[in-house]
């Protein structure tokens, strides 16, 4: 290795000493493209056009080939220009198909993607057969070849990346409004069409920045995945942009790093594997929107529901027998609540721990005073809701029970108060059962 450190550092550490200029260029190029794609990918994501990047990155190929055929050179600026023109034509073609034919947007994307790409392949193979010696390396645009990045490439990519970031910063407000609510933006007098064109242009540029490093096929991933991962962590666009940029940069680093460690590992695919790993972690562990958080919330709600159902069952036993001090067995509870015995035991144990239930001799249970109060409130909510369904929504009395059985668990004190105000001093529910009075009156008993 050129310029190896004197101590002969192992390769996985040697990378950080930037042993050659090429390492710096590859790393910089990958990080820049990760940042650009992450940034613009968020707007495509919000407009539900994540796959537009896929179509455009494929559509860039004929432009690259045409630029070469016209100029005989692979100058970065020439290649980039060809790619941009080609992407723009693809973008316009998609728009035209959707607007003027009965074909839908997904078909338009797929057709532009494959036909433009087919044209690119036709031109590429034509160039290869022409024996033009300068054409070697054009096929690197298919899968990307970050190792071929040189100083000139990095400066061009870096400059474009900076321009894209600057435009997003300056036009943040307009981009945000148009992305979330184009009609509202139009009502405000914003030039929605111009903003949309600018946005499309920036996405095209972001795609073209990445072609050489990642290639036409996987560039789609760099537009979609950082934004999708960022979305799990926040509801704020500003933070989403920052996270997507960070994820894009990290994946750029991963790609450059892995391909440095192993000569046969391509950069682009490892960038994609890196960013998808970030996505998977986000999908699983993000607070609120992550899968684990939702599983936990679901289990918590299930426990709450079970707890409240047992309270109400014990209350109904007491109400029917006019005796709040007669214990009930688990078997008796099971006759009224369909749940596994083990689950019931854990639920009753939890109620006991919370002081709402106490165990009498022989594994039988009784409501405590606090338990009676809690159960009373739940029963009141249940029966108020049944009454509301019957009187206000005119639902037949025999249809109201199941709905109330579900709603009682999520009614808030505010809703409770509104129900009581709405229904006045009704004493009986649709089934002729007494509706328990509010807590302050209950204490007098």
């Amino acid at each position: 290795m050129n310029g190896a450190a004197p101590e002969g550092l192992p390769p996985w550490l040697e990378f950080f000493t930037f042993p050659s200029a090429n390492v710096v260029y590859v790393l910089a190029g990958c990080v820049i493209l990760g940042i650009s794609a992450g940034l613009l990918g968020c707007f495509a994501f919000l407009r539900k056009r994540s796959l537009l990047g896929d179509a455009l990155s494929h559509a860039a190929l004929p432009g690259v080939c045409m630029a070469f055929m016209l100029t005989g050179t692979k100058e970065p600026l020439v290649v980039l220009s060809g790619a941009v023109v080609s992407c723009w034509m693809g973008s316009l073609a998609i728009e035209w198909i959707v607007k003027y034919t009965r074909c839908k947007e997904d078909s338009a994307l797929g057709m532009v993607l494959s036909v433009f790409f087919g044209l690119g392949i036709l031109l590429l193979t034509h160039i290869q057969k022409s024996g033009n010696a300068a054409q070697s390396g054009l096929d690197k645009f298919l899968f990307g070849q970050a190792a071929s990045l040189v100083e000139k490439d990095v400066y061009l990519l870096g400059g474009l990346g900076l321009v894209l970031c600057a435009i997003v910063l300056v036009g943040y407000k307009e981009l945000k409004i148009v992305s979330f609510d184009p009609d509202f933006a139009r009502g405000l007098g914003l030039p929605v069409r111009a903003v949309e064109i600018a946005l499309a242009t920036m996405i095209v540029l972001a795609v073209c920045i990445g072609l050489q490093a990642v290639g036409v096929v996987l560039m789609a991933a760099m537009l979609v995945t950082p934004a999708a991962a960022a979305r799990y962590w926040t509801d704020h666009l500003g933070r989403m942009l920052l996270l997507a940029v960070l994820f894009g940069a990290i994946s750029g680093f991963i790609g450059a790093y892995v391909s440095y460690l192993s000569a046969r590992m391509p950069t682009g695919p490892w960038m994609v594997v890196g960013v998808t790993s970030i996505f998977i972690v986000s999908f699983l562990v993000a607070p609120r929107r992550g899968a684990l958080a939702r599983v936990v919330r679901h289990r918590r709600f299930r426990r709450k529901t079970a707890t409240e159902n047992i309270l109400r069952t014990l209350y109904k036993f007491g109400e029917a027998a006019r005796d709040w001090h007669e214990p009930r067995s688990l078997g008796e509870l099971l006759q009224h609540r369909d749940m596994p015995m083990g689950f019931l035991q854990r639920t009753v144990r939890r109620l006991e721990h919370e002081g709402l239930v106490s165990e009498e001799s022989g594994g039988r249970f009784i409501l405590t005073r606090a338990g009676i109060e809690a159960a009373e409130r739940l029963t009141r909510l249940h029966r108020l809701w049944e009454l509301y369904l019957m009187k206000k929504l005119e639902i037949a009395p025999d249809h109201v029970h199941d709905d109330a059985e579900e709603i009682e668990h999520i009614l808030t004190p505010e809703l409770e108060q509104r129900l009581m105000d709405e229904l006045g001093d009704e004493g009986l529910d649709p089934h002729g059962q007494q509706i328990p009075a509010a807590a302050q009156e209950g204490q007098a008993r």
């Binding site: 994501f45 539900k48 056009r49 994540s50 796959l51 990047g53 896929d54 494929h58 198909i97 003027y100 034919t101 009965r102 074909c103 839908k104 997904d106 078909s107 994307l109 797929g110 057709m111 993607l113 494959s114 036909v115 790409f117 087919g118 044209l119 690119g120 392949i121 036709l122 031109l123 590429l124 193979t125 034509h126 057969k129 022409s130 096929d139 298919l142 899968f143 096929v217 996987l218 789609a220 991933a221 537009l223 979609v224 995945t225 934004a227 999708a228 979305r231 046969r264 590992m265 391509p266 682009g268 695919p269 490892w270 994609v272 594997v273 998808t276 996505f279 999908f283 929107r289 899968a291």
Partner: protein, 296 residues
Amino acid sequence: MTMDTFWILVIGSLVAASCSLVGCFLVLRRLSMLGDAISHAVLPGIVIAFMLTGSRNIVPMLVGAMAMGMLTAFLTDVLNRFGKLQSDAAMGVTFTWLFAIGVILVSKYTGTVDLDVDCVLYGEIVFAPLDTLTWGDYNLGPRAVWLTGAVSVFNLIFVLLGYKQLKICSFDPALAASIGINVAFWHYLLMGFVSLTTVASFESVGAILVVAMLIVPANTAYLLTDRLSHMLMISVIVGVLSALGGYALAAWVDGAIAGAMAVVSGGLYVLAALASPRHGVLPKFLRQRKQLVAPE
């Protein structure tokens, strides 16, 4: 016309026909990009099948590809429903990840895997006639002909036998569910056949140009008729025309036949978009002009 030319045209036509049949249902169900996703994602399935068997025997590769195609549809579904991720992003994340894994596997085993990484994107149909199948002392002709021919027959049988279910699932999934059709079953079965078709066409036209054959003839037919049965027939015809025209264009330009096939199919689509009697742009324009002129 030489024998090689004949075989190339046969293979191209069979690829086009098999893709067109299943492509119609992708288009009608607005799953065109899922066809694109599957055609990318079959790559790791093929490579893994190769690694496990050590040969390019077709059956393991077909099984691997079908499994990966169905996995793509399944993961997209999971991310969309359970992960609350919009469907286009779910698709994009899934297929690029699987494709990246496939490319890594190919790169890692370069030299041992008999797969040129470039062929992943564009197959070379010109060489297909050289790869022949033999049975004892008989030369049965190019392997690709038998493969794509078999898949064409399978697809035709699938469409004929499942026509009613596929039709209702495509036009009105809610009605299909209400009359007892297992919509998910037919969805994944269709995905399986798309995967089968994709991998069978893999060596001839490459993973991405399969997309052109899957959806461009179908969309062209969609512009020319309102009846599903006619759409299927027109789609196959357009596909075959694309194959034949593509060969001619490739010969003229001296480029890849698969790329030329895609370009010709695009050209046919543009023709239909402009000139179709009912849904074409020009006839609509003329009808509107006539209506504007009439009151005078």
